[in-house]
């Protein structure tokens, strides 16, 4: 019995996520029925059209790519006990740095793209270093600072586009092919979709995060600070240094997300009236993925498919895209409220009850 219990506990994060997904989609289905749509048709349209055609599969992967990176960014900060809500802003400065390098530097192919991606990552890291530094030295809460940094990033990027990168225009010109992350071979494999090399960068970063956190001394320190800063301090670790480092690595991931999205998907930067939400979706992705690299990849796949397929759902079944946002929110609500805990518990107790009854016989 004890063995079963411990096994349930081990698998519980996975079960929690799975049950929450099912419940979340059920909430979506109920909403659709209430609004007079056919949930069966809608969900079938969603999954079929997001995955079956090569073009759609490519576009789904394109949607998944930035989610993995922003999810990793949030997850890594979580592990050090930091809530990096500024991923959105770090994403934007990543885009900005990438487009500046893409447009202003004339470099040969490959090198141009590499420099642009690195510039984006560094910009994100620097942007995240500010809240990290303030948290470490002045004790200011990172949530407040990083939210404010989001607005600074948004408006900074708008001003730069309007005043410096263009002459009062709404969007920059397209970056030259030398800086693009799109590869003809890959695009053609996926029916001419906008899939790009960013996905490999994202997967590599997931691997990097796993290695860093669980295979290196620095990673051990980062996690230790997250578990108990006082004990870590007592053990001789520098809490301040680890907080700043954690924020910077987190920002690096977010900056990579922005750079790859710009260099691979759009190819230009435009003035934004509001946040794109890719950074905020990273919070949901990290939460559902239980802050592990593999979990982040899996939940990015789910959210990416739901996001891209949501558009098709609107196309095929006429269901508004907002329903998918409700499903997102419901899934997160169920994860956060840990609704599956009692469910697993209940299932387990019932079986034990039967078992006992049988033994009595």
């Amino acid at each position: 019995m004890q063995q079963i219990l411990s096994r349930v506990n081990k698998t519980s994060t996975f079960a929690t996520s799975l049950i929450s997904i099912v419940l979340g989609m059920l909430v979506g289905a109920i909403m659709m029925m209430a609004a007079g749509y056919d949930p069966v048709l809608a969900y079938r349209a969603l999954f079929a059209s997001a995955l079956l055609q090569p073009y759609d599969l490519g576009e789904s992967i394109r949607t998944i790519t930035p989610l993995i990176l922003t999810g990793l960014a949030v997850a890594l900060a979580f592990r050090t006990g930091l809530f990096n809500i500024g991923v959105e802003g770090q994403f934007i400065v990543g885009q900005l740095a990438a487009v500046i390098v893409g447009l202003k530097l004339g470099l040969p192919p490959v090198l141009h793209a590499v420099v642009a991606v690195i510039a984006g990552g560094l910009a994100g890291a620097l942007w995240a270093a500010v809240p990290g530094l303030l948290k470490a030295t002045r004790g200011v809460h990172e949530v407040i600072i990083s939210i404010m940094m989001n607005f600074i990033a948004l408006n900074l990027s708008n001003v730069m586009i309007r005043k410096w990168l263009t002459e009062g225009s709404d969007s920059t010109p397209k970056i030259p092919d030398s800086a693009s992350l799109r590869v003809d071979f890959l695009s053609q494999l996926f029916g001419g979709s906008r899939i790009h090399l960013g996905i490999f960068l994202a997967l590599a970063m997931a691997l990097f995060m796993f290695y860093l956190l669980w295979k290196t001394k620095l990673g051990y320190e980062l996690r230790a600070v997250g578990h108990n800063p006082l004990a870590s301090e007592y053990a001789g670790m520098s809490v301040k240094r680890n907080i700043i480092l954690s924020m910077m690595i987190s920002g690096l991931f977010a900056g990579f997300a922005g750079a790859s999205e710009l260099l691979g998907t759009a190819g230009y930067h435009s003035i934004q009236a509001a946040f794109t939400g890719v950074g905020f979706d990273g919070i949901a992705v990290a939460l559902l993925g239980a802050n592990t690299p593999l979990g982040v990849i899996l939940s990015s796949v789910l959210f990416g498919v739901l996001t891209y397929g949501g558009g098709n759902m609107q196309f095929e079944a006429g269901v508004p895209f907002e329903v998918i946002r409700v499903v997102f929110a419901a899934i997160i609500l169920f994860v956060a409220a840990n609704i599956s805990g009692p469910l697993v518990d209940l299932f387990f107790r019932r079986r034990r009850g039967r078992h006992l009854a049988r033994n009595l016989d």
């Binding site: 049950i19 099912v22 419940l23 989609m25 059920l26 289905a29 949930p39 069966v40 048709l41 969900y43 079938r44 999954f47 073009y55 576009e59 309007r162 009062g168 225009s169 709404d170 969007s171 397209k174 001419g192 906008r194 999205e261 998907t265 759009a266 190819g267 230009y268 435009s270 934004q272 009236a273 794109t276 939400g277 891209y308 558009g311 098709n312 609107q314 196309f315 095929e316 079944a317 006429g318 895209f321 469910l343 209940l346 299932f347 019932r350």
Partner: protein, 344 residues
Amino acid sequence: MNKTSWVALLLSAVLVLAVGCGGQQNGGKADSGFTVGMVTDTGGLNDESFNQTAWEGIKRTKNELGAEIKALESKRDEDYVPNLTKFARDGRDITWAVGFKFEKAIPEVASQFPNAKFGIVDSNLGGKIPDNVTAVTFKEEEGSFLMGVLAGLTTKTNKVGFIGGISSPLIKKFEAGYRAGVHAANPKATVQVAYAESFTDATKGRSLAQSMYNNGVDVIFHAAGGVGKGLFDEVKTREKGKFWAIGVDMDQSALAPDHTLSSMIKRVDVAVFEITKELKEGKLQPGKQVELGLKENGVGLAETTSKHVPADVLKKVDEFKQKIINGEIKVPKTEEELNQFLTK
């Protein structure tokens, strides 16, 4: 909720998913008729601006041409390409992209689907229009000229105002036309010009309107999207019959019924409908820019204009309209053309 119902809930969830994945295929496609698609920009279908008016035009194609219609709303800039692609793959006869934000997406998708037809509103793609695209633009300066005439004839203080959104060639067209109109109708009147450098900041619009009215301006025309809402908020608080606002894009008189002189309407619906109709009748030659002005009924005065504007003023406005239509007056589009116009 008791334990059994939780289990039941979970089971039904699994059931929904199972049925969802195993059901049979039946798409909602039209059999053989004429099909029209429309992709909005991030403003969405109910933006009280050009997306909404464009959709009105598309709905007319359903009623009058029997077209099967469908719209997709873009949530992010990244959605433009896949949304257009969906319609192109679906084999739509024409797909409309509403707004200049599609400038980069349209050439990309159009070259991927050379056999599909596309239309774009409010952009001429920098003059490089692919063979399967029709670009619709409007002569905003002509409509704005009439607003200038209206303002010039209405003002008692001989001071009128203009609030622009972001200073760009498009909004300069409004300004140039308006100032020329004021000059033509009332050479004594001066025009105060201000740019909000935003299309969304209503607070900025209100403070600009406030300082203009305080400086003795009594009529203000805006071409500033959401910024203009601030103008209407401000004019509402002022004396009736003395202070006026002029709206843009669609009839905005509902925002301040007692203070709205007129609105310069852009008939995006007419444009979208007429071009779609030409395509159905086989008369459309894509790959070109279609420019709609007063003559084509692409821009004009809102119907509610007669509510506050006396008949003799309306008659004057109509005279100017005729002069523009038969080419007697050439309305300036840029700062330079305006300066030439003013010194004539």
